[in-house]
Amino acid sequence: MKIKKIIGEWYIYILMIIIWIIASMITPYFRQISVFMTIVVFSVPLALIALGQNLVILCGKFDLSVGSILGLSTVIASVTMNDNIFLGIFIPLLVGTIVGLINGIAVSKFRIDSFIMTFGMMAVCQGSGLLIRDYPGGIIPMKFINFLLKETANIAWTPIIILIIALLVGEFILKRTNFGRNIYAVGNDEVIAYRSGINVTFIKTAVFAISGFMAALAGLFLSAVMASGDANVGVLYPLDSITAVVMGGTILSGGRGDYKGTIGAVLILTSLSRIFNLIGVNIWYTYIAKGLLLVIIVAIRMFGVNEQREAEL
């Protein structure tokens, strides 16, 4: 019984280890530590975005604008950071938070559907990013890049630490704070949450603001990895982050799920593209794999849902 529960909670990590073992049997390149470093480095932006997305989805909403906020953030960083490093960090975060706040207010106060609102915001942010910088470029100071990606003994510690901090903070917020509990309550049933005295409007607004902030943070990290700004860099992130959150066990209708599963799913998704790359398979097979994985995992989970909910579809 207890073992079953543990497997149920950590199955995504078991899947990850199985994938890693199979991959290292197939190709010797996968046994090198540098491969794992690449996986970690490329997991960080997705993990940060997925944290915000996870909170939003737990509320039963979507945030499609994360990718373009990330792109906008890299662009602003590439423009401002060379003059003043603190301003270059502060402004993207501020812009991301404000955009998230606008999303949140529109969704919670004006009751615009989150899908449409963030979909419109996605176009707005990507458009403004392209207006500022229509081709990838700009300068990110070496000081900033070194701080994030410096390797000691062949291991870049900062990304690993960021990943661990994100995991701890995410789990702490969701499981140990009132805010986290309120998010679950709102996701389960807004009306009941409202009647039991939870400030539903605040929770929903805050969740979107956090999502915008995290997207901007991910943008700062990615701008250091790319050493430039690119408004189009984020196009895949909304889809990838939603895939990761859903794969990690969070239910799309909200109210159930956690963050540690999401991190595991993020690691699996980044590993998959690395593995395909190393084996020398055509990159487009990654898309088929991701698409099938997403659909199959959700389909399996749906078998568990009670048949009596048939009417709801």
């Binding site: 979507f62 990718g67 529109a106 004006f110 009751r111 615009i112 559907d113 899908f115 449409i116 609102m117 979909f119 419109g120 915001m121 996605m122 176009a123 707005v124 942010c125 990507q126 458009g127 403004s128 990013g129 392209l130 207006l131 229509d134 408004a231 196009v235 895949l236 909304p238 889809l239 939603i242 895939t243 859903v246 799309l252 209708s253 055509n282 487009w284 097979y285 990654t286 898309y287 088929i288 794999a289 991701k290 698409g291 099938l292 997403l294 659909v295 959700v298 389909a299 749906m302 849902v305 048939e310 009417a311 709801e312 579809l313």
Partner: protein, 322 residues
């Protein structure tokens, strides 16, 4: 709410209000365009804008029906480009009819898989069509060659004209009228609206939810394939681009934007195919004005986003005052 009769009256007025707002906006946009550039208002140019709108219009019809049930189809653009690429590959510039049917069959097959997953395996529409989009993106770039030409028949249908009016526009209007009639006056259409407004109630009143939803995605797949074929005929060569997060994502997003601007909202059951025609026109005329003013892709993207947010904001405001 106290008096059902007055309640109904308000209902109609609000619906009329949305249509009036749309017409007014269309009018204002066209007048602004006419002031900015007098040549915009020539019949020839307006017809060319219509011609340009038709393909988006056809793909948006399928999307409208899906959104009416409260679902979403993110694989519209991908299906279009699959039909586009496969059609070009099989036609090879020859006068062949069979590839057209193969492409329509492919569209139906994609719709069938989507429909099965969503209706019978109960996968959320967003996830199912997202997965389908990713799978199609991968498959098309692996298996399709980006060569080939449209067959002359298809080309004639897409760019030919009867008198002054392009055949494609006539086909679009024909399809839109047929679907409007089906949605408004047949049992199937009523069932779609019923499911969109309250799936539980419709299930308990004896509607086979699963079957209807299955057919909705089948229709969406078919219309996407038709749009894809005309896209091929319109340009002559396959358009195989990877932009905006997946295969044909920009087509998908434009279709969703057009449906939303038209007033079909995501909670389902409000709006309809006839509204989407307005939505498509607003979007495309706006784009053509921006092109005229020399604004590139970035500005158009920005404008599309702002228009969607503002219009949906107005609609929601109208809904609330109901």
């Amino acid at each position: 709410m106290t008096n059902t009769k007055t309640g109904k009256k308000v209902n109609v007025n609000k619906d009329m209000m949305q249509i009036i707002i749309l017409c007014l906006m269309l009018f204002v946009i066209i007048v602004i365009a006419g002031i900015l550039n007098p040549r915009f208002l020539t019949v020839q140019h307006l017809i060319s804008v219509l011609h340009d709108t038709a393909i988006l219009g056809i793909s948006a019809i399928g999307q409208t029906i899906v959104i009416l049930t409260g679902g979403i189809d993110l694989s519209v653009g991908a299906t279009m480009l699959v039909a586009d690429a496969v059609g070009a590959m099989l036609m090879g510039g020859q006068n062949r009819i069979v590839p057209i049917f193969i492409c329509l069959g492919l569209g139906l097959l994609i719709g069938l898989i989507n429909g099965t997953g969503i209706a019978y395996l109960r996968i959320p529409p967003f996830i199912m069509t997202l997965g389908m989009m990713a799978t199609l993106t991968g498959s098309i770039f692996i298996f399709a060659r980006t060569s080939g030409f449209a067959s002359p028949i298809l080309r004639h249908l897409s760019i030919g004209k009867i008198g002054d009016i392009p055949i494609l526009v006539l086909i679009w209007i024909f399809l839109a009228i047929i679907m409007t009639v089906i949605m408004r006056f047949t049992v199937f259409g009523r069932e779609v609206y019923a499911i969109g407004s309250n799936p539980k109630a419709s299930y308990h009143s004896g509607i086979k939810n699963k079957k209807v939803i299955f057919f909705v995605y089948l229709i969406s797949g078919l219309f996407s394939a038709i749009a894809g074929l005309f896209l091929l005929g319109y340009t002559g060569v396959p358009e195989l681009t990877y932009r905006g997060g997946g295969l044909g994502m920009d087509h998908t997003l434009s279709a969703i934007a057009a449906v939303v601007i038209g007033g079909t909202i995501f909670t389902g059951a409000r709006g309809g195919v006839e509204r989407t025609i307005f939505g498509v026109l607003v979007l495309k005329i706006l784009f053509s004005i921006l092109t005229m003013m020399g604004i590139g892709g970035a500005g158009k993207l920005l404008a599309q986003g702002l228009v969607v947010i503002v219009i949906v904001g107005i609609y929601v405001k109208l809904e609330k005052s109901r």
